[in-house]
Symmetry: C2
Subunit: 341 residues, 2 copies
DNA sequence: GGACTTTCTGACAACGTTGTCACCACCTGC
DNA sequence: GCAGGTGGTGACAACGTTGTCAGAAAGTCC
């Protein structure tokens, strides 16, 4: 291959075709009022020179692109991958494109990613916030609609699309206590996310309702990832009074926990996961879960973004911040219906 | 919330601070030779006005951004999600950012996405090509390094990072025939991707080596997705002479196939998956697979891209197209070691 | 034949930024 | 006193595109 060449511009095409740049611009944008003869001549030059419009120049001129920014923990997390996929599909319908950035659950990197998106002049931002100070967002607020997903942020006043963490967890753990479970572990007690704290509250609510004071060893703090959940469950199973049921606070933790149960041959231990995961239905027993509906959250968040942009477009006053709770339900599949030995 | 305001520019900051735009630009870019007094005054104005640099203008001026484009089937596919994640991490190290676009396995949409990336002036492109005519890529070739991942394209001369589809499949199916299997199904026979055709060849190679002529009903053509694989396996198990082993040509098909085996209570049927998937080790039996190493492919592709850009940077002649075969291995976990009944 | 439209085309400014150059004020050394 | 720095600052052009306006050429109407 030869050295990479400079990209041709409207000027290059114009002089090649013997017309003005404006005429080339008209042809590129399929504007009327270009004679057929000129149009074909210009089209030929475009093809010959491999001209491709420069969207930086376009966006600069038109004062912004048609892009929605999405910032979240990691694209490799199935929950976010599906959420992202839903956002992309819905945005595409609306003629917009999507860029994403991952935070790796690091507040500093979250800030960098948001900053980058602001520089890229995204029209709106969808953000799954990491725990930490979000006052930096205030700077962007006036010019950039921001919709939180999955998690609240300590400062109010932002749109948020999420599920009812506390209530759903309460419901899930009730599901276990109703079947007689009293020693119930809470794995995936991740300190990075406010969500986890809400889920932990729901867990406490449910236990309090049956007069159980949970032992601190049942919900050790940690990173909330797969390996940690595996270790936690393995350790708990070896304890003198092991839990008879496990609640996993997120799908990654659930996968680790389930693996631990299978490795230990203790599939008699009841199990409910907050958030579905691949193969959950195939396992024996199939895993009961709170379906967190990433697709639904993604779609709702994108709708919300579009509402904001529409309001702005038509010079209507901006939408008030809204708290959208996506409906989800407990999917009983077997593992959550096991009774204590 | 009030109506969205116009974004402040260097001009706004400059007049607010009573200096020239150039001085503001210097402060923003941390250039030396600005007096401490002016620097703090400008910084205050920047903070007060919530100034954020416009990267369109920057990129326009500097003639291109620092972005790598990635185009692939779907970000919701775990294989691509992990590949993407690896690319993003490696690119971030190199000070570049990543944008992605999904094709939905549609050749037309692939073209649109590539076109969009070219307009966005990505520095390089990583593409998982869909089956179809790729002559349109020629236009971009001269100005844009393109690295294919996972799949070849019918036209040669592009860099490609992939695994040895035919050889690995041969090896996997050999693994089954060595244990006495003769009736082996090939599910996920997807017509969209050239990869599948190569894997099918490896399958035929292995069977031919033990003098078996595969029955066409063992490898029905289809979409290659999870539901279809489920149906295919369910149907095959009900046949008068059902297969004693199943080879799944991709992870999605594997998940469907495994589910079908579990639902039918036929976990005695041997199974090997091309590509790992979540929970594969947790299932009973654990699923033997060819580890397709999306992370390794992503890293290798990004390295390749960086090599191209480096060459260009230093005015060296461009790298020759390379075919990089990422090493992978068969991971025996149990399901692939089952013997026929 | 003149006034008027209609159809096509081009010159030019602007979008927000940075690179180049020039300038001013102040210093240093003779 | 003057030549020659040097540190701080600003004017201006340019990046590639599109919007605005103006003008040329040709047709239409009285």
């Amino acid at each position: 291959m030869a050295r990479m060449a400079r990209r041709p511009t409207l000027h290059d095409v114009a002089s090649h075709a013997g017309v003005s740049i404006k005429t080339v611009s008209r042809v590129v944008n399929h504007e009327a009022s270009v004679s057929e003869e000129v149009r074909t001549r210009v089209a030929a030059s475009i093809a010959e020179l491999h001209y491709v419009p420069n969207s930086f120049a376009r966006s600069l001129k038109s004062g912004g692109g048609d892009t929605i920014g999405v910032v979240m923990d990691s694209i490799a997390d199935p929950f976010f991958a599906e959420l992202m996929s839903a956002v992309e599909a819905r945005a595409l319908d609306a003629g917009m494109t999507v860029i994403f950035g991952s935070t790796g659950s690091d507040p500093e990197r979250e800030r960098q990613q948001v900053e980058r998106m602001a520089m890229q002049r995204v029209r709106a931002l969808i953000l799954a916030p990491v725990t930490g100070d979000h006052s930096y967002l205030e700077r962007f607020r006036a010019t950039l609609p921001i919709v939180m997903v999955d998690r609240q942020v300590e400062i109010g006043g932002y749109d948020i699309v999420a599920v009812d963490d506390r209530g759903l967890t309460r419901q899930a753990v009730d599901h276990l206590t109703e079947r007689g479970h009293r020693r119930i572990a809470f794995v995936g007690n991740d300190v990075h996310f406010p969500t986890t704290a809400h889920r932990l509250l729901g867990y406490r609510d449910a236990l309090a309702a049956v007069d159980v004071e949970p032992d601190p060893s049942w919900f050790p703090e940690g990173s909330g990832d797969e390996d940690e959940a595996f270790d936690v469950v393995t350790r708990l199973l070896a304890a003198p009074e092991p839990p008879t049921a496990v609640f996993a606070a997120n799908p990654r933790a659930a996968m680790g926990a389930v693996h631990a149960l299978h490795v230990a041959g203790r599939t008699d231990v009841a199990m409910i996961s907050f958030g579905d995961f691949p193969m959950a239905t195939t396992l024996t027993p199939a895993i009961t879960c709170v379906n967190q509906d990433p697709h639904g959250i993604g779609v709702a968040a994108t709708e919300r973004v579009i509402a904001h942009l529409d309001a702005r477009e038509h010079d209507r006053p901006d939408e008030h911040p809204l708290e959208i709770i996506v409906d989800t339900e407990l999917v009983a599949r077997g593992s959550g219906e096991l009774e204590p030995a």
